[in-house]
Each structure stands twice: as C-alpha cells, then as structure tokens.
Symmetry: C2
Subunit: 291 residues, 2 copies
C-alpha cells in the first residue's frame, strides 16, 4: 500500500508515500480540478498507475475527479467508447449483483450500453467467479418492446452482441434477486437505483427496528436482536463492499464512497489487489476487442 497526498497528512502512517501538494476538493469541478491541479493526490495516483509505480488506485474523494484523473492519465482501453462505474449490490444468500453504469455517464447511447454489458460480464466473472453471468437490461417491463428509446435500441443490439449472456429486460424488483447477475443501464438511472436502494435500506431497517422495539419480547432481548439486525444492515450496506470499479480505463481504479469506513477502504484495497492479480483489465481488453 502506497499513500498519495500532502506529506503532513500521509507521512505519519508509516507507509511508503508519493507526495502531492494539492487536493481536488469534494466540491471542485472534476475536469477543471484535474486540469488545474496537476500536483493533486488524484492526478498523482493515476500517474503512478500509468507509470507502473502502483498497480491500482483507490479513492474515496471527488468521484468525478477520480474518473477524470483515471481517464486522462491512464487512458481508455482501445475501443471503449465510455468508461462506466460498476457497483456491487449485495444479495442475501448469493454473490452480489453488478450494476453499471452507476453514475459515470448521465446521457448514454445504445452502443455504449452494449459495451457496459460486455465489461460488466467480465467484471462479474473476475470478481465473483461466475462463468456465464446473466446480463439483463434494466427496463420497465420484461418484453423487448418495453422501455424508453435507448432501452429498445440497446435491447436489439444486445441480442447479437458477443461475450454477453443476455437474458433480456429486467425490472427494478429483479435487481436484488437471483434473476440477474449484471444489470445494465445508463448512468442516470443506475445512480438513481443505487441511491434509492441506500435510502430504502435505511428507511426499512429503521422502521422494522422501531416496530420490534415496541414489543416486550424485543425489549427483553435487545442485545442479541440488535446485533443480528446490525449484521444484516452491514451485509446489505453497499459501503461495506468498499467501492465501485471504473471499467474501461487502462488500469484498476476503485471509487469508494466519500463516507467510507476503515473497513470499506480495506475492502476496496483488497478488491483492487484481486482485480490486478486476476488481470481484469486484460479481460476487458479482450471482450471489447472481440466486437
């Protein structure tokens, strides 16, 4: 593990450091930040990956600036139209669902979504060992004709796309079930889904705890029951999984939530290491080149 940042902040951890004098703040404009703050920790981290000094980068900073740094300094995988953010959504009793794009591209074109499907399948294979992940296109009905124009056009392209086991349209209610392993959507819808799930987890679990707390049985056994609940909450909380991978750039870039816990960051570093050891970027190159 290498730390990148201002010496007075990173040096005290006792780990090897790469010094960077500037910081792209959470509220900074991503593209401007990367252009103007050439000695920022995000830019320096992406350069370290590009130059082979580091094998991967992990950031819990400004998401847009993390993407921009990775894209501008590492470059795009040849043939990739747009990189996408792949998030993992924990499902009870099985490996997580991969959701992409979960926020990199608010406006998308159908051929980009086909590449998201191909890249998402590779990611699911590498991260969870699935041989033939079921790839679904997020829509508002299972039939091929359901959805907006983007979905209809993408559906047609996906039926013949190589490197994708396309199972057709899926709906919001399928995302956390065994029906689908990789959910493909534009970055606007994907981000809305991700944040809706976060909000639902919080609202639902606090409601259930409140209702249980009103029972005498719960009050008599609060400790173990709260611990059981906490365990589920942590399991389902996307933060626990330590970050999303930016797929389509020439290197491993893991984007973590700004409010990541120490556990989440440890997991993010572990995922980064796994993706490097498993040669995921090479897998993405092969899938995209096969088009």
């Amino acid at each position: 593990v290498l730390l990148v940042g201002r010496p007075e902040v990173v040096a005290s951890a006792g780990l090897p450091c790469i010094e960077a004098s500037e910081v792209i703040e959470m509220h900074d404009d991503p593209a401007n930040g990367v252009r103007r703050k050439k000695d920022s920790s995000l830019v320096r981290a992406a350069e370290a990956v590009r130059d082979g000094v580091a094998s991967a980068m992990v950031s819990a900073g400004n998401t847009g600036a993390t993407m921009a740094s990775a894209l501008l300094r590492m470059g795009r995988i040849k043939g990739v139209s747009r990189p996408a953010i792949a998030t993992v959504l924990p499902r009870p009793g099985m490996h997580p669902t991969v959701l992409l794009d979960s926020g990199a591209n608010a406006e998308c074109q159908a051929p980009w979504l086909v590449q998201f499907a191909q890249m998402g399948a590779v990611y699911s294979q590498h991260r969870f060992g699935l041989e033939r992940p079921k790839v679904g296109l997020l829509s508002i009905g299972e039939e091929a004709g359901k959805g907006n124009d983007l979905v209809k056009e993408t559906h047609d392209l996906l039926t013949t796309a190589p490197h994708v086991h396309f199972i057709g349209n899926v709906e919001g209610r399928d995302v956390l079930t065994e029906a689908v392993d990789v959910v493909v959507t534009d970055g606007f819808t994907g981000n809305v889904v991700l944040k809706t799930l976060e909000g639902a987890l919080s609202a639902i679990s606090s409601s259930i705890m409140q209702a249980l707390a009103a029972t005498a049985e719960f009050q008599a056994n609060q400790g173990p029951l709260r611990a059981a609940h906490r365990q589920v909450y942590d399991f389902l909380d996307p933060e626990t999984y330590g970050g999303a991978m930016l797929l389509g750039v020439e290197g491993v870039c893991i984007i973590s939530h700004g409010s990541s816990s120490a556990l989440a960051l440890r997991n993010a570093i572990r995922v980064a290491a796994d993706m490097v050891r498993g040669a995921t970027v090479e897998g993405l190159r092969v899938a995209i080149a096969a088009e």
Copy 2:
C-alpha cells in the same frame, strides 16, 4: 360501488352492475385493446365516468389499457400535455411521498415534467392535506447542473413555474425521507424507482427476519416479533395503499396493482371517493390553467 364486467362474474356480488361483454387481458396491447374491445369493462367504466353514471373508476387490470381507456373516453384536462401516474410511497412517521410519473410516459419532455410537478403538488394537497408540498426533481446530485439533459432543462423551467414550491433536485436516497413531498421524474425512471423499492422491501425484510431467526431470543418469541415485522411490511408495502391516480384526465381514475389484495382494493375505492369529494380534478384544472 358499481361493478363493471361480464354479468356472470359481477352479478353474484349483489352490487349494482354495468354489463360489459369483453375483457382487455393483462397481455393485450393497450391501445389496440381499447380500440377493438369497445364493450370491455375498462372502456365501459371510463364511459360511465364520462357520462356521470359513476364518479370515478378503479381498476387492477391492464395498466396501459386503463390509462388508454381513461384518456380516450374521459379526455384530457385542457392544457395537459400528458397525463401521469402518481404513486404514493409510504414513509415511516409521516404522510407518504408522491412519485410521478411512475410509468405512463417512458419518454418525456421538460414542459411535461413541469406539469407533473404542478399536478403532483395538487394531488399531495388533496390527498394528504399538505398546504405547500415540497416538490423535488429526481436527479443524481443536488446541484442545478447535475443530471441528464432532460433534468437540467426541467430544473430551469421549474424555478419559475407557478403553483409549485420547487426545492430543487433530490436524489434517490431522499425519496423516503422528510426532505421532499412530491418527487418529479420521467415515467421510465419513476417506474424503475417504484419497482426497485418493491424489490428492496422484499429483500431487506426477509434478510432481517432470517438473521433474527438465527438467534435463540428470536426463536423463543417468534410470534410477537414476526407480527411486529409484518405490521411494518404491510405499512411500507405500496400495495397496501391501493393504487395510483392517473393525473391529467377529466375524471378520477385509480390504477391498482394486478396482484392487489381485497384491502388494497378497498383502499383504492376509498381514495377514489376522497378525490371526488375533494374535487381534485377541479384543482388540477386550476393549476394547469394558471400556466
């Protein structure tokens, strides 16, 4: 309560009936169904509202055909570009959020979304008694510049729209909180949000129950704890609320889930009656005419 349908099905209930010999099935194409099955229960029900024989219609049948029947037989409120489906999302400890469009229009234009905001505000006022509901535009960041092209254009229009207390962009995680009372979005995104919440409720609550069931304390007190959980589940389940209202047509039309329980349908009928007594359609007319 008037029942509309095939005599052999509806007559036995002992309620007044309107006979209709045909049925638009769940898998029928909505527009074709309405055009060709002129003696279907959906078409006859919409005509009964148009003709003043009934005050409102409630259907748990084919959603698209319910909308098409209402639109073609009752007609559109003057000035309304597109009717929208307004769904209510229960929030713990306060009145529900109104989400629209939750599925009527997969492709939308910015001026339509402005009307959805105006109609959603009226609906929230009439249904929940809010004087000045907080109207938010669903996006992927709170700042005005965040989102896709449709959201950016709509945001600009909403800042000066009459009859709307516009609070700016909201995110998926705000939908079930007190941050916002009316969430405006296109029918594709809205439908995805609705179904994602359904799926989340199911996945999260079953996970929590499973984890609790693994503790000895839970097993000893299963009955009351399961009852408390069931109570929350029913509270949060949108089905309990008995249906969504189609806003923008010249009459009250309530669309219920195809798998509605008897309780859900009773609630749907109650909502329909409330909306008629409160002259909600007149309120919508006034809001749209003020543009």
